[in-house]
């Protein structure tokens, strides 16, 4: 019989992720050394590339904006006990809302475009998440399976639309028409030249607002209470008279809406149109961000910046060290995702044991809890 020994909170939210990150860095370093490059140079280049100068920082924060949205999408669902793997597809479909507003209101003003684009993207992201939510709530189809499938469906629909419906006449590439004027969300470099050519735009403000919104929603509203009840114990929520089926649908829609915000950042903030696969896996990175950030907005903000840095630093590395190609960058990113996301619990037992040696009081509490629970 093993006794559960919870870590102190600071170790759980700060120390463990940092150790995981360090482990990922070490393994990445070994990989870099194996192809004959200097891992310390690589780390220096990545760090400088991500944070060392204005434009690099701008790119890092731009990527982080996407990761905040997808990370929050995963976290909100996770608090309700739902594993939304469909942020990728939800963000992809939401692009249609963003581009529609951008193109239709291209002649007006960005102050009008921004809120409407957010609303439209959120609505489409929510609508796409509604279907798996409904299927789970009313038909019992497992949300993990359906959201994975809906990523493929979203991708297929978008390819079809971009090739046959939305592609303007005379354009070879499958994409929508370009937003030319007011439909573009202003980039911060227009006001702050410090950011160089970085695509960082107004959407980051909404990412910060979304972090605050999610914090309040989860811990300070009655809805958040119901949501956490269901997430921890669906039988208790039934007992409490909370309709699990309604909750599942609503929470999936909130999750999808958050994922949909990626569209505003990417479609109207940078590319001014939808191109094939513009979401480039940001939805999946959101899972790692949420895991690493312990589903808490503060953690998600930090994890999003880390992953933003990894993306931007990776691009820089590719440029500075030609021996490290695009595939190598993917390997490094994958290692970080693996160690901080999928294998996040790898060091936990060891760390818990280490803490037990120094904190016998906690062990006593844990044992007391266990024995009370099991004695007849």
């Amino acid at each position: 019989m093993s006794v559960r020994r919870p870590l102190p909170r600071w170790a759980d939210v700060a120390l463990l992720p940092l150790l995981n990150l360090a482990l990922a860095m070490i393994v990445s370093g070994v990989v870099i050394a194996l192809i004959g490059q200097n891992p310390f140079d690589a780390i220096r280049i990545m760090t400088y590339g991500a944070f060392g100068y204005g434009e690099g920082l701008g790119f890092t924060l731009h990527f982080a904006t996407d990761f905040v949205f997808t990370g929050l999408a995963v976290a909100v669902a996770a608090h309700a006990g739902l594993f939304n793997i469909g942020a990728e597809g939800q963000a992809y479909i939401a692009g249609l809302g963003a581009i529609a507003v951008g193109l239709l209101l291209d002649h007006t003003h960005w102050l009008l475009v921004l809120p409407l684009a957010i609303a439209a993207s959120a609505a489409l992201g929510a609508a796409w998440a509604f279907i798996p939510g409904y299927l789970q709530a009313k038909r019992g189809s497992h949300i993990v399976i359906t959201t994975i499938m809906f990523n493929f469906i979203a991708s297929a629909i978008m390819v079809y639309l971009l090739n046959y419906v939305l592609k303007p006449m005379g354009v070879q590439e499958p994409s929508t028409a370009n937003v030319m004027a007011a439909g573009k969300i202003p980039q911060l470099r227009q006001f702050l030249p410090f950011f160089g050519y970085a695509p960082l735009n107004m959407t980051i403000i909404f990412a910060i607002l979304a972090l605050i919104f999610v914090y309040v929603l989860i811990w300070h509203t009655k809805f958040g209470f119901a949501m956490r009840t269901m997430g921890h114990n669906p039988t208790a929520s039934l007992y409490a008279g909370i309709s699990n089926s309604k909750m599942i649908i609503i929470i999936m829609m909130i999750s999808g809406a958050l994922a949909g915000m990626v569209a505003v950042n990417e479609v109207l903030g940078v590319q001014a149109r939808i191109v094939i696969d513009y979401t480039s896996g940001y939805g999946f990175v959101g899972i790692a961000v949420a895991l690493m950030g312990r589903n808490h907005p503060v953690g998600i903000a930090l994890a999003a910046i880390l992953f933003g840095a990894l993306y931007q630093g990776g691009l820089e590395l590719q440029f500075e060290m030609p021996a490290i190609n695009r595939d190598m960058i993917v390997v490094i990113q994958a290692l970080v995702i693996m160690f901080t996301g999928a294998m996040e619990g790898l060091l936990r037992p060891g760390l818990e044991n280490a803490f037990m040696i120094y904190k016998p009081r906690q062990k006593a509490d844990a044992v007391a809890r266990e024995t009370v629970g099991t004695e007849g």
Binding site: H232, A236, A240, G241, S243, K363, T371, G373, G376
Partner: protein
Amino acid sequence: MSTSDSQSTPAQRPQRGAATDLAIELKGINKSFGPVRANRDINLKVRRGTIHGIVGENGAGKSTLMSILYGFYTADSGEIFVNGQLAHITDSRHALRLGIGMVHQHFMLVDNFSILENVILGAEESALLASSLAKARGELKRLAADYSLDVDPDAIVQDVSVGQQQRVEILKALYRGADVLILDEPTGVLTPEEADDLFRVLHVLRDQGKTVILITHKLREIMAITDSVSVMRQGLMVGTMPTAETSPEKLAELMVGRRVLLRVDKGPAHPGKTLLEVKNLVVADDLKVVRVKGVSFTVRAGEIVGIAGVAGNGQSELLESIAGMRDQNSGDVVLNGNVLSLEGDDGAARARLAGLAHVPEDRQRMGLVTQFEEWENNILGYQDEKAYGAGLILDIPVARKQAEERMKKFDVRPPNSRLKTSSFSGGNQQKIVLAREMEHDPKVLVVGQPTRGVDIGAIEFIHNQIIKMRDAGKAILLVSVELDEIRSLSDRILVMFDGHIVGEADPAVATEGELGLMMAGIASKEAAE
């Protein structure tokens, strides 16, 4: 499993022939989990050919001690003697080889195997089953004859009664050569009649020279069948005495460390108008098997109606359905004259709104979110009320303040509303649920297993609170598998068997025997014939 375990050192060898009359002797057993000392310097002597009871509250260390004897844990220090020989028991197989067998509270049987197959499971002697089965069949016959443990070796386990299944567990241990049988809360799942059967079997086992160690929290059973009894409290062995020289009151006092009132003190009921009426209720379980087969009854203001029955006869489904957690196939629940609409997965909210409070049978699975802080559980089910914030935002300071007031009133310890609910003991968790449901001033209170897994001291408090609610004019429906609890709290008793109410009894006149027959469905069959 080193060989030195079963062979004693020369110094101890003389005892082997000297045939001590102690089957088990524990000397100075210590077991700590960190600084928590689960067993402190425990000495215990169990004489061969006796039934020895061990009582104690939750967390007193009984299970830890038995786990050490059965090889689940190793003691930090201390010695175990089996038949006078020092033994270092390393695991349960080793314990079995020394002749120590255990019957667990939850049976470890393969439901779709025959009794014979279950008995040899894990003790097959060759790769081919046929010879083992034939040998076991003969052995089983002999055991059945010796210990009056009749079972049909070819019956499938899932088709036989719970009492029979328990016999299979005992047979399993005997088949493996057990001389000492440890039974952990063996009567929890039995009807009174089946329990009597078990006691008869235990007596036969004892008379044939086997030794029985009985762990229980039911003092009545201790008094009825044991020869001697040991009491544990907070990891200490506080006393061992011949059963004939003690009384339930004395045992309870030893267990708790203070005087405890075992009888519930209550005045006569003054029933008022009907507050809860259940009409022809039919309810199915999660597998769509109909469990409640047309049940009707009423509960009036100021009375406690107890539903007695062996676990699994539809009481749980009945309770959940009345509380709005489980859809009804047909029938009505009428509360204070209004038919409740309970369908859908938020039926519980409408039941609450109508004035029904529900203390669920399984507090950890239903009544609490154990990961929540205490104050959050204090509003569970009532979170949407204006009192906790007028709009969408939860008024956390108000909720915390109220939680701490209730914790004081219900003596929940420690009275800290910021603690995680899982860190409270069973009794305190139950008080948290009771405080929430009772303080809400409901019209009707439905209570399931109010004292399951609760310490004796807290039981007294909980029973008094339930009586208080009755005297305040609430209609109370009580479901419990503890017949004693039903008999001492209820003003009227309904007996449930196989989804039907098979009888009503007045707790003042009904004997345990009569109730037991009804619970076993025998009275109803006779009535039908």
